[in-house]
């Protein structure tokens, strides 16, 4: 396996309760992987570690990017002067947290409870996502220099591409709050993609969608993975969706990995059946 993400001995606890305990796994490149398990098993916690919102107590997370390999936890908990970050960024990470840095390395995510910029238009949501990619400073923007105009044009093109991909083009000037629930879910994925990630983490993308919308999502995700250099990690409860689209499944229970394998393997796994899918039905 040529992994994009490698998690080693990850442990984290909240107020004495262990949420993740010695978690080890790898995510293959350019495939869809799913993280499943009962509610409260630690899936979202793990997500928050991978995307930099929680700092684990111990363990390492390696992201094997296209150009470099980075150790994510180290970036969140740097010394006073980390070589990867530079002085200012290290200081900032120590005092304010530095989860945004992980996005620069190519990790993007969505949230279980959709977090769009509700009072901004659909297009603006997608442009905000490209904030760090837009060239130029305040003045070049104010005076519309050529460099700025060009970079804005690129950003708009990318945004339009994803709008088209997720069939949101007709709504580009609507406020995000005005979209339907399913459209908001898709917009959130489009927004994450606008940051041009290598690893896309989706937290329950199908929650609250009706069967047609779920089927649509399944189709879009498969197309997405096939046509771009993208690895996807998703948390999902809809087993039909998980078994249909993912090539690789990790099962978590009580903060521990109880099984890793292909959908077929997971469906036969006795421990998984006992903990999650139901004892007698296998």
């Amino acid at each position: 396996m040529n992994p994009i993400l490698r998690v080693e001995n990850l442990s984290i606890e909240f107020g004495g309760i262990v949420a993740l305990n010695q978690v080890n796994f790898q995510i293959p490149r350019n495939q869809i992987s799913a993280l499943i398990g009962p509610n409260g098993a630690g899936k979202t916690t793990l997500f928050n570690c991978v995307t930099g919102f929680y700092r684990p107590r111990e363990g390492k997370i390696f992201l094997h990017g296209a150009r470099q390999t980075s150790e994510l936890c180290g970036l969140l908990n740097p010394g006073w002067l980390s070589r990867d970050l530079g002085l200012l960024q290290s200081l900032q990470a120590r005092f304010f947290g530095g989860s945004h840095v992980l996005n620069h390395l190519g990790v993007a995510r969505t949230f279980q409870n959709i977090r769009l910029f509700q009072q901004m238009s659909v297009m603006e949501n997608l442009l905000v996502a490209q904030h760090t990619k837009l060239k130029g400073n305040l003045f070049s923007g104010l005076f519309n220099t050529q460099a700025y105009v060009n970079s804005e044009r690129t950003a708009l093109e990318i945004a339009r591409y994803w709008l088209d991909f997720f069939e949101l083009s007709p709504y580009l000037n609507k406020l995000a709050a005005e979209l339907s629930y399913g459209q908001q879910r898709r917009l959130e994925i489009a927004r994450a993609l606008c940051t041009r990630p290598q690893l896309l983490c989706l937290d329950e993308p199908a929650a609250g969608l009706n069967p047609q919308e779920t089927a649509e999502l399944s189709r879009l995700l498969q197309r997405l993975c096939a046509q771009s250099q993208l690895s996807i990690l998703l948390i999902e409860h809809d087993m039909r969706l998980v078994m249909e689209i993912s090539q690789h499944i990790i099962v978590l229970d009580h903060g521990e990995v109880i099984a890793i394998g292909t959908p077929a393997q997971i469906q036969q796994h006795p421990q998984v059946l006992a903990a999650y899918l139901g004892t007698e039905y296998g």
Binding site: G15, I17, N39, G208, Q267, L273, G282
Partner: protein, 236 residues
């Protein structure tokens, strides 16, 4: 007037602009165990919360012993004999076990009698009586949440995913306790994702999909239903 013990008729509700329930009708007879199963996000928790008026039902009726309670303020509903064990337990972490139980029984004149019985039923709570609830383990917290709900001597007990995040062994114990409570004559409405356990316990069951009731029947019927098997019991 509906004569049934407890029923929902064409109830709709929404969180802001997001609709969560669509014309949900169901009923629970006295002494029954009824379970509601459904996937994450199907609106199970919203249904229970709608019964308690948060979010408020925008349409339809909720009858409790012949009276429409859909428009009562939340804090009145507890006084009518309905108790809820909410999702995620929601015990008061900074209060002691004793205080948490007292909170449940604050409107009940039988509080001291019931406290004895409940502590008997949950010996672990007796051991930790003076301990802060936040320091309990997940299973103990769940017992506390159930104990707290029972303290008001309800006629109808609503449970929202009590097995959530508990180890299989504890889940087994939990369902034994629920069975025991039911044997003593309590009417139980159980919302579960752990369909397997729930359907075995239940007299009757409903299946909620996207805020709508899709199927209903006895527990055994649904256990054998291929559709249910496929969607909720994990065998493809």
């Amino acid at each position: 007037m509906d004569k049934s013990f407890f029923s929902l008729q064409e109830v709709e509700s929404s969180y802001g602009r997001l609709p969560v329930l669509h014309k949900v009708s169901l009923q629970v007879q006295q002494g029954e165990i009824v379970t509601l199963i459904g996937a994450n996000g199907a609106g199970k928790t919203s249904l229970l919360m709608t019964i308690f008026g948060n979010p408020r039902a925008t349409h339809g009726h909720i009858y409790w012993q012949g009276k429409d309670i859909a428009h009562l303020p939340t804090h009145h509903i507890a006084g009518l004999g309905i108790a809820l064990v909410p999702e995620g337990r929601r015990i008061f972490p900074a209060m002691t076990v004793a205080e948490n139980l007292a909170m449940g029984g604050r409107n009940s004149v039988y509080a001291s009698v019931d406290l004895e019985k409940i502590l008997e039923m949950f010996p672990r709570l007796k051991e930790r009586f003076k301990q802060r609830a936040g320091t309990l383990s997940g299973g103990e917290q769940q017992m506390l949440a159930i104990g707290r709900a029972l303290m008001s001597r309800p006629q109808l007990l609503l449970l929202d995913e009590p097995s959530l995040g508990l180890a299989p062994l504890i889940v087994k114990q939990l369902f034994e306790i629920l069975e025991e409570i039911a044997k003593q004559g309590m009417t139980i409405f159980l919302v579960e994702q752990n369909a397997n356990h729930a359907l075995k316990l239940a007299d009757r069951a409903y299946v909620l999909v996207n805020g709508q009731i899709e199927l209903s029947g006895t527990g055994a019927e649904l256990l054998d239903n291929p559709e249910v098997k496929r969607a909720y019991l994990g065998s493809l």
